[in-house]
Chain length 127, copies 4
Amino acid sequence: MVDAAITPPSDVDTLAAGGEHCSAHEATGHHGYAGDAQALQNRLRRIEGQVRGIQRLIDEDTYCIDVLTQVSAVKSALDRVAMLLLEDHLSHCVVGAAEAAATSGDATEVNEKVREAAVAIERLVKS
Amino acid sequence: MVDAAITPPSDVDTLAAGGEHCSAHEATGHHGYAGDAQALQNRLRRIEGQVRGIQRLIDEDTYCIDVLTQVSAVKSALDRVAMLLLEDHLSHCVVGAAEAAATSGDATEVNEKVREAAVAIERLVKS
Amino acid sequence: MVDAAITPPSDVDTLAAGGEHCSAHEATGHHGYAGDAQALQNRLRRIEGQVRGIQRLIDEDTYCIDVLTQVSAVKSALDRVAMLLLEDHLSHCVVGAAEAAATSGDATEVNEKVREAAVAIERLVKS
Amino acid sequence: MVDAAITPPSDVDTLAAGGEHCSAHEATGHHGYAGDAQALQNRLRRIEGQVRGIQRLIDEDTYCIDVLTQVSAVKSALDRVAMLLLEDHLSHCVVGAAEAAATSGDATEVNEKVREAAVAIERLVKS
C-alpha cells in the first residue's frame, strides 16, 4: 500500500508523453541534455542506489541521525542533477530562443523560456 | 560505470554495520522509527520509483523543465522522510536522554543528542 | 510605499507582545537564548548592515550576479542565527519539558515542544 | 563588536566599486533591474525592518519558536528578491548576450553569462 497523499503533485507518465519543446531542440532533433544524457543517467542510477541503501538502513534499524545524513546526501546529489539540467536549459533553450528572436524580431518564445526557467529555479530553491 | 567523484561523502554499507545507539532505543530493543518503519519504507519505495521515472524521462528526451519539476518533487518527498526521522529522533532519543538525565543527574548524553540533532538539521537545511 | 502583498504572513509586533512560554524558561525567568542573546544580536546587526549594503549595491547599479551573491550570503547568515535559536530551543525547552515529564509522568508538554520544533525546522528547510 | 568570523566571504564595499558589466547593460546605460529598482528597494527596506524586528523580539525574550518563524519569513522574502534579480539577469544579460552572439557569431560572452547564472543559482539553492 502506497501513501499517495504525501507526494507532491507530479505525474511522470503523463509528462513523458511529450508536451512542450523548444525550437532549438526541434532544429537539432534532440534535447539539450542529449550530449550529457549518459552522465545524467549515471548520476540518477547512483541516486536510485542511494535511496535503496536508505531503505536497507531502516530495515537494519540504523541510528536515525545516520539515516538523516544519507537523506541529505541524496538531496545534494539531486541538486547536482538539477543544476546540470538547468545549465543545459539556459544554454540551449533560452539562448536558442534569444538567437531566434534576434533574427525574427519576435521575443515571445524567449520571454516564455525565461519565465519557465525562473519558475523552475524557484521551485528548486523551495525544495 | 559510476561517476563516484560527484557524490557527497557517504558510505551506506559502513553505516549499516551499526554505529551509535541511544539509550532509549537500547531499552526498548529498537529504534524510534520502528513503529513508523513501514510508512518510511513506503515513502522511500515511491521515491525510488520517482527516480527511475526521471531516468525514463531523460531516455525519452523530455523537455528539461518538466524533468526539473520531477527532481524538485523528489527533493520535497525526501524532506518529508527527513522530517519524520527527525521528529522521531527528537521524541525518542533526545527526550529519552533527557529523562535519563533527570534521574541520573548526568547531562552528557542528552547534550550530545541535541548537538547531533543540530548538526543533522543544519545539513538538511543546506541540502 | 511598501508592497505588503509579497511578505509571508508574520506579525512581529503581535508576537513581541508575549505568547507562549515553556516551563524551563519560567523556572529561570528568561529564555534559553538569554545567555547567547548578545551573540545573536551581534549577528543580527551585521545582517541588518548586509541588507542595507544590498540596497546600496542596487542604487549603484551593481552587476546583478554580484547582488545575488550578497543575497545568498545574508540567507546563510540567517541560517546560522536559526541554528543557534534551534539548538537553544532543543537544549532548554525540549530537554526541560522532558525532565519535567520524567518527574510528573505527564508527557503533554514535551510532545507539544517536539511538535513545535519539527514544524519550525520544516519551515526553515523550505525557506 | 562584530563577530566577523561567522559571515560568508563577501565584501559589499569592494563589489560596489564596479566590476563586471554585460554588454546589454552598457548599451542602455543601466542594469536590467533599473526598471524594477524601486520595487527591489521597497522589498529590501521591508526586509531590513524585519531583521530589526527580530532584534526586538530577542530583546523582549520572545519564545524561540516565534523568533524562528520570523527568521524563516526573512529568508523567504530574500528568495523573492533573488528571484527578481535572477529573472532580470536572464532576460537582460543572458538574452542580450545571445542576441549579440547571433550577430557576431562569437558565443564567448553568452557562455560566460550562462555559467555565471548557474553558479549564482547553485549558491542560492544551497543558502
